[in-house]
């Protein structure tokens, strides 16, 4: 039997935009997901410092949030973002990977609620945090 985590992993890794940004799913299950995005000069937002653009961090948070929703035990067949708020604490250190961890901490029949945090190599100082609501698409 193929477990839900495997399905979710295959699904996430098949997403063209996530692939283009070099995202790799490192952990998934029970409403939790962790995704790693390697440093890539093409994603730089400030050429003078080499800091990754906030937009790429947003895309990472969004993907990780969706993965967390799909891995929840009451998981839907699919999900889409309703809204997402991202707070930027600091620029990620140039040259380091960015790791996002998302948790689907509550789910109803129609809405899933998610929190996420992004880090670079310094696990004590988050790069960004996010919170969002996702749709719950039931299997037809």
């Amino acid at each position: 039997m193929v477990d839900k985590a495997t399905i979710a992993r295959q699904f996430i890794e098949a997403i063209p935009h996530s692939k283009a940004l070099g995202m790799v799913l490192t952990e998934i299950g029970d409403g939790m997901a962790e995704i790693l995005m390697a440093y890539n000069p093409a994603l730089v937002g400030d050429p003078q410092t080499g800091v990754i653009h906030g937009g790429a961090v947003s895309a990472l948070m969004d993907t990780c949030g969706g993965a967390a929703v799909m891995s929840h035990p009451d998981a839907p067949a699919g999900t889409a973002t309703i809204d997402l708020r991202i707070d930027y604490m600091r620029g990620a250190t140039p040259g380091q990977s960015i790791r996002a961890r998302a948790e689907c901490y509550h789910i109803t029949r129609s809405v899933a609620f998610v929190r996420a945090t992004a880090y670079d190599d310094d696990a004590d100082k988050p790069v960004a945090t996010a919170s969002g609501a996702f749709t719950v698409e039931r299997a037809k």
Partner: protein
């Protein structure tokens, strides 16, 4: 009290376009996303040209929510930077050569960003316009709207707060 003679139109346009090109063209991520910005006077419209790599759901297919968020964020960031630089671009206080060389002044930083997804993004070009709703000495608030085929049917909107760069002491 003679009024200063207006500058020739091509000089004004050259300075504005050089400033915009520096803001957009100098950023690798903006190029990676295929985002371009068109200008009419001081009004900017951003375009994200469709590409397979922007897809988030291959079954529908639909744009990735992250790509949509990034598009709105880039648009908001360019708008606030543009608004901040505008008076210096117009007065000529900003040197075009310096801008073209990629030597930009310090730009605003994103504090937070909230995006609402109103409908799924179709696999085609997307457009966005931002509006600076408040610009203070330290903080600014910007709203952005994105649409595809129909200007009145937004597929996403966002609000963005920025931390403005500290002005050198003595500057106006």
């Amino acid at each position: 009290m003679s009024r200063r003679k207006p500058e020739p139109v091509q000089i004004v346009k050259q300075r504005r376009d050089a400033a915009l090109a520096a803001l957009v063209g100098g950023v690798p991520y903006i190029q990676f996303m295929g985002i371009g910005v068109q200008r009419r006077g001081d009004e900017l419209t951003a375009t994200m040209t469709f590409d397979e790599k922007l897809i988030g759901n291959p079954l529908l297919p639909a744009l990735h929510g992250g790509a949509t968020a990034a598009f709105l964020e880039v648009t908001a960031m360019i708008e606030i930077s543009w608004a901040m630089l505008w008076s210096d671009i117009e007065s000529g206080a900003i040197d075009v050569e310096t801008l073209v060389a990629g030597d930009l002044p310090r730009l605003p930083k994103t504090i937070d960003f909230t995006v609402d997804y109103l409908r799924s993004g179709l696999p085609r070009d997307a457009y966005a316009r931002a509006k600076v709703t408040r610009s203070g000495r330290r903080y600014a608030s910007v709203q952005v709207e994105a649409w595809q085929d129909n200007r009145d049917r937004l597929f996403a909107q966002a609000t963005c707060h920025f931390l403005m760069p500290t002005q050198p002491t003595g500057a106006q």
